[in-house]
Symmetry: C2
Subunit: 462 residues, 2 copies
């Protein structure tokens, strides 16, 4: 029994098990994977299992004036899924059905709690391909991927999550349901509300169903890897690959500090003075060997020290291993604060030079892996968890990297989103007129400021 | 000299030549290419040549309470660029500069009045490719393409205009300037205002600059064409091509009535009893021959009567000729009312069967060419221009086709937009909740209802 009328109402309408108030469970749901984002103490956790239950949750929360934070797998990196004091946590865990996979229409219809890898494997079983592959894909949900417009390794060829979202079912703050977009490939019927919801991090509505575009299964992939003496050479080679028309299905960059951390973690035969490392893949089956050979030749022409080209799947896997080891290799070095700036490719050398200078200025280690084909880098500030002064310097360096990215015509976030982590810098990126429009759009969808308030946009209501 | 204070103000600030009041010129600017859309009598035509001049035009119009209709080349097919009584026509004709083509970043920055073909050729000169290719590409402007999220033949592989718009500069109804989006490949900084403007048909703001994504130049293309005894066979073959992973760069369909009209217009050797015709292209250079051979084999396996595969550019051009002749062949038959429904590919046979039944019911000729790979068809009602009863039946048939498309899970417009032509059906497609959101978004951008009022959304202010 509870004296909390909101809890009582939801238990009555959704059932006892759908409404959780156990403090340990609530505590375990306070945070996503962001570092340094504050998290409040939630009032309750609700696990609706249908669209109509989500409607009831939002109606009840609205009537009680309780803010709602929607959570998927809480793998986000910007604090968007962090609890707010007194909030209702709306978990999509039970909205986890793949409702349809249509081979003929090349679409899947899913609920938001479906895990990315589960969908990817289910469609592959039918000869189809759902490309968006954030690093978290074994854990993160489609709803979370939509909320942040998640990217991944294969974006360089296939695009981001939003490029695969055709239509959505969304429960609004009012409890009403709206269907946006379409099932068809093309459509221009009215303003594009689908794209407005994609990347909105739970601040405009709760996605309860998504119609996703699929592609035919890609052909077999092959990998090439190259080491360079300098950052400049590696970046120049990457630019030449992108200009070549080869369309790699993956093009990753690791700077010297990242490569050294990996080599220290596990012997990959990387020389101590490596300046940068490029890893590329082509998934064009019989033509992949020709593609990776062409990529290798480009790398050599830009002064690569060593170039390795895989001849099969196992060698390809091994060449990708360095990229996979970035997180495990950095983790033992201290706390990691992962940035997500993207710049025009022509500014990548300036970005990396500037990041090195920032590392020196603030006396912190900044490793810089990234999706170089998209100009989207993940400068990662690493510092000692027991050194408060280092922590303060790390935060300053983190901000300086975003300022640098903006000064180079870039954006503060390529694929991780704003959450609370970057809400301050978002205002700088948008400028006052753009910020004003964004606030008004927020108020169209959520006049009561109850959907993930303070995320993306800092609190602004008078 | 004029006694009209708005005209006097704009002549003073923009110069005499930028403000046109000649009734003949105004009359020639009343319509776009839509059939059956009403057009009002404009008060003046203004040709600003800079963003700041557009700001001045919108401020002046706002202060005088005069509605603004933005016009590019007026090649639209839904009446979005049609004049309203007493309106200010804002022509983008003098905003026609390609500001930048960056080979390194694979972007172009252009003003809205640049003609699509001019941009396409300019980037090709630098080894780059701007894919969106609406049929009007030799005349239509990038601003107009953005306003309608224009498609074209190559969408089936490359996507629509919106997929290539990275960022925009937009003058708002208030006269303020906002920059949306970014120059980078990826970005998720705040709500996606860029995609909200794309397809908004001049109702949310005036685009004064666009940053467009480019790709490396495609390789040489080859074409295949196949005739079938029935609609079902042609549609089934198209579905199989799309399921095959072949990624044709063009996949067009002509139904029997269209093919017969073309054959009557020019002898293409098409049999009188042809059920449907498919035309496909691959632009993968050395691999194109293999691709079109595979497409031809698929067509044969679905019962194609005749299959032709080009071995070079000239033969490819000849095989595409039938598609190019659709408009010239239909034009002599009467007035054409071109629809733009899109359905999931699995519903194409049902759509075409339904269209044939509608033609019979309303006693009108409906020809149905279309972008079959995208499920986006252009059912075209043809009727005698001197027969008022036939005109009435044609309009009823036109509406029935949209109703049919919606009933099959489709959309009323794949690439032509809403304008005034389809504003009534848009309400049906959106439903009341979606319509309510769209109206509120309109009011965020244009609280005075002065930007192309009544287009896309029917007048709704109390």
């Amino acid at each position: 029994m509870t004296s909390d009328p909101l809890i009582a109402r939801l238990r009555s309408s959704l059932g006892e098990k759908a409404v959780v108030t156990d403090p340990d469970v609530l505590d375990s749901h306070r945070n996503d994977h962001a570092t340094f984002c504050s998290a409040g103490v939630p009032r309750l956790l609700v696990r609706p299992s249908s669209t109509s239950e989500v409607q009831e949750v939002l109606r009840a929360a609205g009537e009680h004036g309780v803010p709602v934070v929607t959570q998927g797998a809480r793998t986000g990196l910007s604090g968007a899924a962090n609890a707010l004091d007194g909030c209702l946590l709306l978990s999509t865990a039970r909205l986890n059905q793949i409702l349809e996979i249509s081979v003929e229409d090349q679409v899947a219809v899913v609920q938001p709690g479906v895990v990315n890898s589960e969908l990817s494997r289910a469609v592959l079983d039918q000869g189809l391909f759902y490309p968006p592959d954030p690093s978290s894909w074994e854990m993160s949900t489609i709803g979370g991927n939509i909320a942040t417009n998640a990217g991944g390794l294969c974006c360089v060829k296939y695009g981001v999550t939003g490029d695969f979202v055709r239509g959505l079912e969304v429960v609004l703050a009012s409890g009403e349901v709206v269907r946006t977009g379409r099932r068809t490939v093309k459509g221009v019927a009215g303003y594009d509300l689908t794209r407005l919801i994609v990347g909105s991090e739970g601040t405009l509505g709760v996605v309860t169903e998504a119609t996703l575009a699929l592609r035919p299964e890609p052909e077999a992939a092959l990998t090439a890897a190259a080491t360079f003496m300098s950052i400049e050479d590696g970046i120049a080679a990457a630019a030449a690959v992108m200009a070549s028309g080869l369309r790699p299905s993956l093009l990753e960059f690791l700077d010297g500090p990242t490569a050294r951390a990996i080599q220290d973690y596990r012997d990959m035969g990387l020389p101590a003075d490596v300046g940068s490392l490029l890893i590329a893949q082509s998934d064009r089956g019989p033509r992949a060997a020709e593609d990776v050979a062409a990529i290798a030749a480009i790398c050599e022409s830009f002064g690569a020290v060593e170039v390795a080209v895989a001849s099969g799947a196992e060698e390809s896997r091994m060449l990708l291993e360095a990229r996979r080891l970035v997180n495990p290799a950095l983790e033992p070095l201290g706390v990691t604060l992962v940035d997500d700036v993207a710049v025009p490719r022509s500014k990548l050398v300036a970005l990396l030079d500037g990041i090195a200078a920032i590392g020196t200025k603030y006396d912190v280690l900044i490793c810089c892996p990234g999706h170089v084909g998209d100009g989207n880098m993940h400068p990662t500030v690493v510092f000692d968890r027991d050194d408060a002064a280092a922590e303060a310097r790390a935060l300053e360096a983190f901000g300086a990297v975003m300022e640098l990215g903006l000064s180079l015509g870039g954006t503060i976030t390529g694929e991780h989103g704003i959450g609370t982590l970057k809400a301050q810098w978002l205002e700088q990126e948008l400028g006052p007129v753009g910020l004003g429009l964004q606030r008004k759009i927020k108020e169209v969808f959520d006049p009561g400021h109850l959907l993930n308030p303070g995320k993306v946009l800092r609190p602004f209501r008078a």
